[in-house]
Chain length 313, copies 2
Amino acid sequence: MKIGAVDVGGTNIFFGVFEDDLLLEKKQIPAEADKGKDVVIKKLKDVMKFFKEKGVSRVGVGMPGLVDHNAGVVEIPPNIEGWIKENLKMILQKDSELEVYVINDANAYVLGEWKFGAGRGKKDVVLLTLGTGVGGGIVSGGKLLLGKTHAAGEVGHIVINPSGPLCKCGQRGCLEAYIGNKYFEDRALYMKKKFPDSLLNNYTEITPRIIAECAKKGDRLSTYLWNEFGHILGVGLVTLIHIFDPEIIILGGGISKSFDLFINSTLQVLENRVMSYKKRGVEVVLAQLGDEAPLYGAYYFALVKGNVEDSSH
Amino acid sequence: MKIGAVDVGGTNIFFGVFEDDLLLEKKQIPAEADKGKDVVIKKLKDVMKFFKEKGVSRVGVGMPGLVDHNAGVVEIPPNIEGWIKENLKMILQKDSELEVYVINDANAYVLGEWKFGAGRGKKDVVLLTLGTGVGGGIVSGGKLLLGKTHAAGEVGHIVINPSGPLCKCGQRGCLEAYIGNKYFEDRALYMKKKFPDSLLNNYTEITPRIIAECAKKGDRLSTYLWNEFGHILGVGLVTLIHIFDPEIIILGGGISKSFDLFINSTLQVLENRVMSYKKRGVEVVLAQLGDEAPLYGAYYFALVKGNVEDSSH
């Protein structure tokens, strides 16, 4: 049976056709989310037509925002102009006569890595996506955690320091307010002024990639910034390990590409701070599917007909 | 069918006989844990004999320490002299021919409150026991979280502030290192010197109960200390709410008796810091079973034959 999978991002819509766990074909189109929800919905309807032509019978859609996994209702997805609350499942099923399942994109990411990536065969998985936002999700005892309003797994908003920097969520000192892209860049911009010798002063705009390049060239400030990044990530992981006692922690998202630059610092914090650290034997690893993880997850979600409760097998 | 339940504490061993969810009879004996593991095990064997005489066929035992819920192996329970690692299930089954199930006491507490107390009928529950230690456990999607080494739910050791006070676990700034009994008392001892007018200066030894009494008499420092307590608890709950998106948060343990003195401060933090706080509608309530919660949980664990995986119904 062919299953379609869609990953709706702020910039692009990715979609692909799966059969027997294989991604047969993958495409992308610009999301043009700034042009408003009607434009995005029209594009998704076109994707359904494409799926129809390909002989797809069932579709999984990964969406940002608050998603009711049963009803397929999506609320306030960030970046999509004018989208308050839409029953996307109904909208896409209506014209296409396809069977559509809608899942939150962070959860789709977790499902993808858990079932087809770094978390294969594990029952207790914590996944963090490190990028503009810090997101993720949790599998505990072979079950994806959803929570009452399906908003569980907001690991970017665990409190690292209650009087820490302001986060865009309104809180102070969230994990994201330290290691989210923008915050990490701001930290570098602030610090480079204090280190006039740093290579970072050759750049007016700073990105995690530039900080990584400079670190690889031996720039001390850049190395320091990655160590600090790793340290703060580690503090967040201590909390998650004490709460979930996971087998594996998977790091994905753009910044995870610099894994080698921060991981030693992270592991050192775990060694120092996690109770019974050695006995637990928790692994911290890189995600394996890259940007395709949410696509694989959306596929899996459709495969099990949205029945995450039974998705442990 | 009669089921026996045991709750092994540092000071006392509580035990009781249940039938059809009713606690028919309850007893307690001193644990004398300082006299060593052999004394405690002997006492537990005597309890099994008592159960045998009462016509009990199955027993649940709540134990402190790291418990393997399948094997019934208990490691390093705090306060029991000389206990490294014992297969308590085997030991108690051998002589008695009873069917014995061993569960960690914090998990027993959660099971008890979830099935028979404040969490009845809920699927997403976070429970904290506030006392000498800060413990607890989590039910997510109708399932008790255990984790890889059955050490999940260590909510007392989520990080509130990475450079905060030293915790007995070796970390800094754990939730417990602020609101655990001893830390809370130390804070009061420190602060009362700065407030010579405070009623707390009438006492040389300070306990949470004394701080509560002084607060009720209008003592400003004591009121401040409870507000601070509530605030820090709130910061911890923000993290837990963002991760679990629970329906209900249940507070138990000795200090929870002062619920009225700290809860407003806690709720204020949640209102200020939790994303989509109103939409979630999460309740924060007092535990209902008091000290009997672990007994009820141990009973339930035996009732379902230790099969927590299927305990959602």
